[in-house]
């Protein structure tokens, strides 16, 4: 379950359908998770990357490299 969820988060963060987005999204999530584990608390790691994911999704609903407006049509 954990891996499925992380994979979803990474792909949506990068932008659904965007290959460079997936790579960069995976990199970002990994770095955020490890840094927050190191500087804050290891049990807070997942909370931080989910919070990061939510913030990105609010600011750029289609993901970092996603097609603008995809979030409004739904995925076709």
């Amino acid at each position: 379950m954990d891996f499925v969820l992380v994979a979803f988060v990474v792909v949506v963060l990068g932008g659904l359908g965007s290959l460079p987005g997936a790579v960069i999204g995976g990199f970002l999530i990994g770095v955020v998770e490890q840094f927050s584990g190191f500087f804050m608390d290891t049990s807070l790691r997942q909370i931080v990357y989910f919070a990061f994911f939510i913030i990105v999704l609010v600011l750029r609903p289609a993901g970092l490299f996603g097609q603008r407006g995809a979030e409004e049509i739904g995925l076709q």
Partner: protein, 299 residues
């Protein structure tokens, strides 16, 4: 099967029917497919358990508190995800419910972390704590009944028509003056608060809660499963679905759980696939079709 087991099945079926009906308000009527309702179930459960065991208040205060907190959280989630549809909204709800679960695990001072809370109170209606099963059956029945009446009322109300209109065609609904965002937020808040009441009942019935039993992702899937099997978007759908799904799940676990590891899950999955192939729009629509065919044949 003995009487207590039967009562146990009845109670769980009724509570899950109510929770699924709450989920149906958002997903079936408004078309916002949430997979984060575990957050609201868990908030209701923890609110009831914490106020009752830690602060010695009546459980009803906890239920009311959980209802308000869930409603506020849903207000927040719905207002930041106003423009999202389809998988984007679903993912956001999953992320939120995971955050709530992780916070429950982390805030040990409040929730006891992974150890969970054992609910032990003075029996009575004020604490919602009973040593027998039948008072829970009455409460669960009341909850399910109230949920059904509410869903039927909402479906017929102006809000219900707004929701169905914006689910079917948002642009058309907006052009006819439906306040799309407001209707969606209201549906999310109602759905979340009602689900949290079900979560509180579940906690008081099992008398023990921990993050895995009240906040896991599986609890978000359960109401979706029940509603889709029963009939998405029909007021009676979740009730029919719960009548099939909940007893089936528990009985299969009881019959095959001890045999081969995972056998009960396999059989459950096969039954689900067969049911959904036979009734792709849910049991309610299928029942309607079968009745139409039958009356045509006997006309």
């Amino acid at each position: 099967m003995s009487a207590p087991q039967l009562l146990d099945l009845l109670i769980l079926t009724l509570i899950w029917a109510g929770i699924a009906a709450a989920w149906n308000l958002l997903a079936g009527f408004a078309g916002q497919f949430s997979l984060g309702h575990a957050a609201f179930i868990g908030i209701g459960a923890y609110a009831a358990a914490i106020t009752a065991t830690r602060y010695g208040l009546t459980t009803w205060a906890g239920i009311a508190g959980g209802l308000v907190v869930s409603g506020l959280l849903a207000l927040f989630i719905a207002s930041i995800s106003l423009r999202m549809r389809g998988p984007f909204f679903t993912l956001l709800t999953i992320a939120f419910s995971e955050v709530v679960r992780l916070i429950a695990l982390y805030a040990k001072g409040l929730t006891n972390g992974a150890e969970g809370i054992i609910i032990e109170l003075k029996p009575g209606l004020a604490n919602l704590y009973f040593l027998e099963k039948w008072p829970f059956a009455v409460l669960a029945g009341l909850y399910a009944l109230v949920m059904y009446v509410l869903c039927a009322l909402v479906r017929r109300s102006r809000l219900g028509h707004w929701l169905v209109a914006l689910r079917d065609n948002e642009d058309a609904a907006r052009s006819l003056g439906v306040p799309v965002y407001r209707a969606r937020v209201i549906a999310a808040v109602i759905s979340a608060s009602l689900a949290s009441v079900g979560g509180a009942l579940l906690a008081m019935y099992t008398q023990y809660i921990d993050p895995d039993s009240t906040l896991s992702f599986l609890l978000s899937v359960e109401p979706a499963l029940i509603t889709i099997v029963g009939g998405l978007g029909h007021a009676a759908g979740p009730f029919l679905g719960a009548l099939l799904i909940v007893p089936l799940e528990k009985l299969l676990r009881g019959w095959f759980g001890g045999m081969l590891f995972g056998l009960h899950g396999l059989i459950f999955g096969i039954v689900l696939i067969v049911v959904l192939l036979a009734a792709p729009d849910g049991l309610i629509s299928a029942a309607g079709n079968w009745r139409a065919q039958w009356s045509r044949r006997h006309a």
